[in-house]
Symmetry: D2
């Protein structure tokens, strides 16, 4: 299990007229969460793509408990529990500055070979990093 | 059970560098789907809000099967299966022009009294509409 | 001079906590406006891209007069005044349902050869269409 | 004259299929730029709103020179040149990590009394801060 925390501040343009951070914006926040988790391991999502891997999301599931508001500095806590195979599952907890748990979520991504468009195994370097931990 | 279909064309700004409609944009598409379902019943989400109801999303779950691409005209098929109580569940199927099923999803929303901020029953008029059908 | 009108309904996720359609969303609305102008001439932006043209925006200028609100059905009136050369300027007027002029804007785009990455002349078919009119 | 620099990393969801950060996303980046400029002076945009001020944008003008790409860490350099009156103009330069100037922009915002909806003078505290500098 490996957890990484990233901070994201809610932008004005991300709020809606309910004054909440729009429920759809979390897809972007979680994207940042998993990219920064990889970066914390010395892995760059950008590099993975350049090496011919794509990582489309096949499932997104979010349970919203409390809203975030404009200018809130959120903590996205991103976790990998199992070593990636042809897929990888990321778990997320979003907290506000007071420590309230705003939502929990998970995304499942699959590894795809950009050249063939077919599913493939996770890049070796990524698997090795996770075995190390 | 009540189903309504809405068409949405993928905007350039909604694509990402994988050339896919970004996985997070569907939250907006489904929002349009359920709003148009209500409109097809003579109900306006805007009016509901003005009458003191808020409808925050408490769960979003999307299963992605195939991507949508720039300029694709998508059909969002939105369904309500059960008469709303203090919550309402919408189910979605997204199709492209070829009729491919791109994803399936569901969202659970709860009715909240805007003045008290507390959960409440669905507006009478909404329940009656669904009983009618 | 050629003018085309497109209708766009403001989505909930496009509002901000001022209850306005977020000032940045018009970049997308104008993108839709110019794409639909081209489509009304039998030209597809998607096809232009597939033929090796890119059309990056080099200037965006918007004068906001009045806000749009959730669920407003806006009319984007898009105009080309001069035959495209290596660049093309689109002018926009945004109206709400009451006919209020919400904003005026213009965007300048340049034609780029996707293979070389260098500026190039507008596609012949596009120039011919505009000469026709 | 007062200048403040903010760093923003381009998210995947902010790219488009040209592989560029979408031209419309800069409206959000500049929003972050001016909010952080205010914060660097001990002023919170959120607090201004809570005190009954709204700051709608009346003009946005962007000159795009070079694109930003996914995962680029951009520097938004935001400048105020003149003491705010009933309006305030912010100037922006966006740089990538190599120091390339990607675009220049300006936004004009007006102060509005949220209760009356009418234009008003900039909050005293804001004017005083700028006189101080």
């Amino acid at each position: 299990m490996y957890t990484h925390k990233t901070k994201i501040r809610v932008r004005y343009g991300e709020t809606d007229q309910m004054k909440f951070a729009y429920y759809g914006i979390y897809a972007q926040y979680f994207e940042v969460g998993r990219v920064e988790l990889l970066r914390s391991l010395g892995l760059s999502y950008k590099t993975l793509e350049n090496q011919g891997f794509a990582l489309p999301v096949v499932n997104l599931n979010i349970n919203y408990k409390k809203p975030a508001f404009y200018d809130d500095e959120l903590t996205i806590e991103t976790t990998i529990k199992v070593i990636p195979t042809i897929k990888v599952v990321f778990y997320y907890n979003t907290f506000n500055e007071k420590g309230d748990l705003l939502n929990t979520a998970e995304t499942t991504l699959v590894f795809v070979d950009s050249n063939t468009g077919k599913p493939c195994n996770a890049p070796k370097i990524l698997i090795e990093k996770f075995i190390e931990i």
